[in-house]
Amino acid sequence: MTKVATPPKKSSGKGAQGGGRRGGGRQEWSPEKASAYWKRNLRLIGVLLAIWFVVSYLLGLILANMLYGVRIGQLPMSFWFAQQGAIFVFVILIFVYCWLMDRIDKEFDVHE
């Protein structure tokens, strides 16, 4: 096996000083904090993927026949979601994720 990358700070070892690139002023890093950070990330991913599922699979495909009579502009709603709407939402979802993760990273002091 080849040598694996060693992270600058490990989750084990209480009080291991984080980062180091920018020197002092870092918060203390602990396994509890790592797990809290990861949970926040997972929750955000969960919410965004739920929206991702609803706009593409649910509104576009699964309920396609049911929503056929409802209109967006001149198009059946399911058709609009399947050929336009879901794609717009996808783009927004990624940027929202980037933006909220920026804030979470700063809050936990793990930003680059």
Partner: protein
Amino acid sequence: MSDVQLWTYIVVAITFAFYIWIGYTNRVRDTKGFYVAGQGVPAVANGAATAADWMSAASFISMAGLISTMGFDGAIYLLGWTGGYVLLALLLAPYLRKFGKYTVPDFVGDRYYSQTARLIAAIATIVVSLTYVAGQMRGVGIVFSRFVGLPIEWGVVVGMAIVAFFAMLGGMKGITWTQVAQYAVLIVAYLIPAVAIGVVLTGNPIPQLSFTFSDIVPRLNAVQIDLGFKEYTQPFQSKTQLDVLAITIALMVGTAGLPHVITRFYTTPTVRAARYSAGWALLFIALLYTTAPAIAAFARYNLIDTLQNATVANVIEGEKQNIYELVYPDGTPVTWATSWQRTGLLAFYDKNGDGKIELRPGAAFQGRNFKAPTDGPNEVFFDNDIIVLANPEIAQLAPIVIALVAAGGLAAALSTASGLLLAMSSAVSHDIYYRILRPTATERQRMIAGRTMILIAILFAGYFGINPPGFVSQVVAMAFGLAAASNFPAILLGIFDKRANTAGAIWGMSVGLVFTLAMILMMKSNVIFGTPAPLLNDFMGISAEGIGTIGMILNFVVAFVVSRMTAPPPQEIQELVESVRIPRGAQVVEGAH
């Protein structure tokens, strides 16, 4: 030489000179530059490069035409080829960037501390990329032959020479910056005719808006009913709902598992930039992907409308097909119809001799024999590709725009081909040669291996571009199923399931890959092995295009269960997983190499 041809020569020559110049100024000397562009690509540029890397000749030339024929069901491509970026951005890209090494097998091999896992991932990379790249080289040849009048073979050779130049000199760095330029060319080439045809038909310059708010789609629906088709917007006419769902999942997850796309996220300077570049990539892709359905509906409406109003003025006996010269009611000739009949992509046959060409459901001809009409009422054959290719002429745009479309098609094919070639050759030169066979190789030996493998891969792809096996176009879409069933679950579990171990990954990937491959071979046995009928029609209602979804589920289940039944991964691997989950320290990894 016609005006169009002259302009095509000029525009293609200028863009190619530009690519070569970029390739030359971005040449590299070390493996880090060669495989991950020195990890110095800004988020927006990486987004544009990813978009060009991702959007192939098929996206550019064929997709709008496919949607135009499939109507609602075209959503499998629109959703399937965009939704995967959300998975990439949220589930893979940031963590792989933090890991920081060069390839997908790098991560799989290190995370699962196993050379076997590394080898399987490398083989999956080669199989996936190879099925994909042959079609790209063919695409280059076809665009050359259609627009420049060069034989397909020579078109492929020119394409190979260009890719070889910037890929061998610049590796990932050269490819990245060339792709940025190629994105600019292809998106401009796609949008100009789309805007123009939208203005002609609806008076609105923004295709996305006129598609949704003008009455063009309701009119198309009405005329489809008149002609005996179903409404254009009616779901599940060409495929069942279950199959549409399975195909969409396979394409989405496959996108997130394609090695040449994943590798792009190793090239950013930070984890944060990797996240944002996924957003930019999808924004750039969405520009084309939300325009395509508009083009599809506009072009279909225009085709039907023209044929309904035009009358046959003259028929020229041809060797392969009769050329019908049509005129509009006011007596002006329908020139695009005549010129595209000459390419064999459009064919008419006035079966009932009423002086009108009628588009109806069903096949017009027996196969592609345009001298042998069927008994059905349909009198029109059109290749899906003309929906995009004939657009500029239908909208009566200047010859320079037609030339631009040619350059755009070439940009789309070349950028995707170069990304695939690099992914394929790095699986051999980096993963198999350096990481498995010769870990002691020097930097110089590794660079030579990298460049040699790119050259071999180009020759290989070129050979298949010139002599395409009959089933290539049939299996390209299956590359996604294979990627979905092999790489994606292994990487995802590697990040999100700390308990996932070697045995789980190897068994999961093997089962997913073998199941998917076997199903595809059985369902496509008529085109691959020449059996009279496919050995298997579908798997519980799911076709070969969607079978990767089942392969992916199998991979997940097997990997999860086997991991629980065997020993947990060692402490250092668990620490590796901890470290990829946190952004800080993205740059540290290079020291470990």
